[in-house]
Symmetry: D2
Amino acid sequence: MREIRQPGEYQYTFGPYAEPIATVRLGESVIMHTEDAFGGKLVSEDQSPSSVLGPYLNPQTGPIYVEGAEPGDTLVVRIEQIEPSRDWAVSCLIPYFGGLTSTRFTAMLQSPLPERTWIYARTGSGGYSWKGRWEIPWAPFLGTIGTAPHIEAVSSLSPGAHGGNMDVPDATVGNTLYFPVHHPGALFYAGDVHAGQGQGELCGVALEISARVTLSFDVIKSKEINWPRIESPEAIMTVGSARPMEDAARIAYSELVLWMESEYGFDRLDAYQLLTQAGRCYVGNMVDPNYSLVASCPKHYLPRGRNPTAEPDESGKPVGV
Amino acid sequence: MREIRQPGEYQYTFGPYAEPIATVRLGESVIMHTEDAFGGKLVSEDQSPSSVLGPYLNPQTGPIYVEGAEPGDTLVVRIEQIEPSRDWAVSCLIPYFGGLTSTRFTAMLQSPLPERTWIYARTGSGGYSWKGRWEIPWAPFLGTIGTAPHIEAVSSLSPGAHGGNMDVPDATVGNTLYFPVHHPGALFYAGDVHAGQGQGELCGVALEISARVTLSFDVIKSKEINWPRIESPEAIMTVGSARPMEDAARIAYSELVLWMESEYGFDRLDAYQLLTQAGRCYVGNMVDPNYSLVASCPKHYLPRGRNPTAEPDESGKPVGV
Amino acid sequence: MREIRQPGEYQYTFGPYAEPIATVRLGESVIMHTEDAFGGKLVSEDQSPSSVLGPYLNPQTGPIYVEGAEPGDTLVVRIEQIEPSRDWAVSCLIPYFGGLTSTRFTAMLQSPLPERTWIYARTGSGGYSWKGRWEIPWAPFLGTIGTAPHIEAVSSLSPGAHGGNMDVPDATVGNTLYFPVHHPGALFYAGDVHAGQGQGELCGVALEISARVTLSFDVIKSKEINWPRIESPEAIMTVGSARPMEDAARIAYSELVLWMESEYGFDRLDAYQLLTQAGRCYVGNMVDPNYSLVASCPKHYLPRGRNPTAEPDESGKPVGV
Amino acid sequence: MREIRQPGEYQYTFGPYAEPIATVRLGESVIMHTEDAFGGKLVSEDQSPSSVLGPYLNPQTGPIYVEGAEPGDTLVVRIEQIEPSRDWAVSCLIPYFGGLTSTRFTAMLQSPLPERTWIYARTGSGGYSWKGRWEIPWAPFLGTIGTAPHIEAVSSLSPGAHGGNMDVPDATVGNTLYFPVHHPGALFYAGDVHAGQGQGELCGVALEISARVTLSFDVIKSKEINWPRIESPEAIMTVGSARPMEDAARIAYSELVLWMESEYGFDRLDAYQLLTQAGRCYVGNMVDPNYSLVASCPKHYLPRGRNPTAEPDESGKPVGV
């Protein structure tokens, strides 16, 4: 299988201004090598993050040019495998960053929380243990994944309609993600693998690892989506990224209503009603420049065979509408 | 078992200004009869909610005087059983109310969504079916539950530090809830049973039913909590209710950090770290005057036997610290 | 002129549960004596607020029963004069309270800001000087003013649709305020006079004084308003109180659009357009449980003589519609 | 005086990826020609905006390379004159855009407001009249102005730490603006002149005109600011752009506190106190991807001669610290 490593410098924005580092064919599985959110610089509990980290965080591998993707299409990304490329993970407290501290945007006059670094060791069972005090099971996902926006170059720290730094644990193995395509080749980026993370990514730093990620790509022709979608074996999901957090929730659930209407034949208000009783909504991140919330509907509430875009036909590929 | 029905008018606020309707002893199990959020007035899909509903919504049974509860204590409420007292449930769209519409507080100039009423029939399996189109499993909980605030009388439509209309599905059978006590007897109220509800209560109206709820009460002496807590067999949880939604998340997770610090021996920043990797956070409601979010920590991350307030000792009662 | 002093304890909620302390006639001018927000307990820069202040803040004088006010009417309050009843003012920093600190609702793990008390001396020119370092001109207003909500008793620290702790400097001498009436007699409360205050009341504590406030009352029969209104010689204004702050702005401007439509004959979208070009919107408070924003329209944009509710006729009284 | 016109296509992002269109010397006054926010396409009340407007809005003139500006400096921009380059202005309602409608970010299921276009005629007195129904006085300013962010290319519709689409009326003639410099030459952009605008830019579209803007540039060496600053003859001001709106207010006031501390010698908490009593805070825009609020302090509260960065010395140039 082809392996894609970033040649030269990593990317720190999602945008149309960088040259593709590789071209992939539809249906091809490739392995992408990703660096951790700190570029591998934070390696010891004796380091204070601010003394080690440079101006750029969250390096991305990309952009990848996906053959056949054109503006107005939807990019389909299957996450087939995630493997750690080292035996430890790191988390830390960064001054004025995190969910329970004032920040650059929620600005206050208080002193920052102390800096701290936690190094976790990978265990025999594949979990991550902090000094034997607790162990987090292996539940890897791509913290950052998406396509280039139309004309903007968005920091790899920020999630948005293009995906980006959503930090939602459902961007994981076995699931399929959908992103808007604004440029020929889609210009796909990925990075920031987390060995595990709670909902909200509370202190702002998950179990950060470098990794090998196996992905395959497909495209739904002439189908436009506004925000990222995720499909697992059990559920369809939408991700809204915005502030305040209720706007992220509104986006996620609105998109889910419209998805159920357009592809599963629901009356719009019936979809609104069904999600009232059966929808699920969790906080992906409450720390990034936009908060990301995930709304979902269990598939068993959806009519079978009604989603031509999301379910594979006999040939194993999604079919556009 | 003693059954408590509201004598005369239901209550529409949580406050210290109404006379108790009953007194319960610590450890006593009682059955409370609760009316649905519409006072039983919305019974047919031919009714438009605005033509039927009066000025008051969400009638509460209470206040209940709990013997032995004093200001500065924590009230412990175990939910032992919830049974429907009728064979149907109702949901609806109310103008300018709900998660995907402008409202009285998120005021805009657009026209309201149409009014709609959905009547669900209880099925043989105990679920609730809408015209055979879909069926929601029986997953009942108390939408509204809590104690009287100190000097305020808060609408039964609003959640807050006192509990109230939190609309969180974990207020359910088998779980234990904790509330602040500001008055002798705690002045406990409950109502608004939902046969089921998605996370967020998206359109603002769950599967509303009248019910019989079996509860028992206890008290932790001289222990003050700031916001409601929930304990299930698997997790400890805190509920934050505020706007914007990130403030509700901040409250919930902050309280959980402080809980882990004060009762489970965690260093504060270690608790912050552990919740970053293992915490969970979902949207209870995104429709009420305050949004309610639930943060939780799985119990297997907590040291055994360290929570004297939340786990029963041999005598079957929690012990205060 | 009749003087009204609080007999016995001050009120700490706006609600229907307290007995009126006085009855006033329509058109009668009365002097109300108000205590400062700290009940007069904070008198020296050597005091730390938390060591002095009790559980209740912001004592209110009231409720006042206004003869002739009935549910469904609008209460009209003219502020005729405000005089200080002492020669100093106090401001301070209270832990976890203010606009540039984490709070009970915007909860974080950081340490609080230090406590501080500032005592200002009234100068010969009527301003308030802090140690000669700076002097704030006399620009007094009622920080807290309003009527009893329908069934709720709302803390005197919180603003809302009933008025309350709005902390908007336009609640001042020469202006007329309008409030909803939910009870016979309206049940009017006032307090919390500020000798001056910036927009936002940044640290949460203005120039707090005790005062004598001369008010007169009137009523517009059978006219319902949803949120407080203010009329100055130059402008009409609406106050929205909510969180997040954009919801307060939306309420204020929406109410202003509807006011211009219903009473000044504007097409709704033309009013929206005119306010886009000529409206004004400032932050009253960014520190209370709800933020208060004031939207206004200069009167010279309004058709003359079109506002029968807000402008006095020959008899000096507003006329209802 | 040199006149700068955009050669070829206008810019629709603020970023480092476009070639400078001109170089200016420090102290040089130049005239920049700006197009209106709609690229001049919306010219008649018979046009519906959605049928006329393309995918890009808010064209910017730039980037301008300012000689001598280096990363770590502050760019100083004096607005010397603004002249309309045509005799009419346009405003309109765009579907799902504006302050009193659901939007792409505050997503709801309601139908959009109607589209409408208003064409204003310039009057003999220089104001703008809509059909003689009302006239808005000439009060021009630059809706969009700022420098290139570090690595991001930000839509010209969005304000941020770099300035951009702040829509604050104080970006006007006679005032001086300060922006962070992240690139050699600063890479300055401007556009979107408004003949007038209310606070909040309520419907999202001010009195849009094309214009000639006379500016001069200077630089403060080795001085870093985090957010835009404005200085008028009467006040110093800071602009915060964020969501929710309270975060914009927090940024603006925090930056003002820090400015008063670092350049005017205030104790930090004294500055916080003084702004509590004397600060002003208004809503610039409540419609863009970030809301912009302006906090200000009247200059008469500031010690004379203490601001070496903002006040010209004898040579007429600001001096860095």
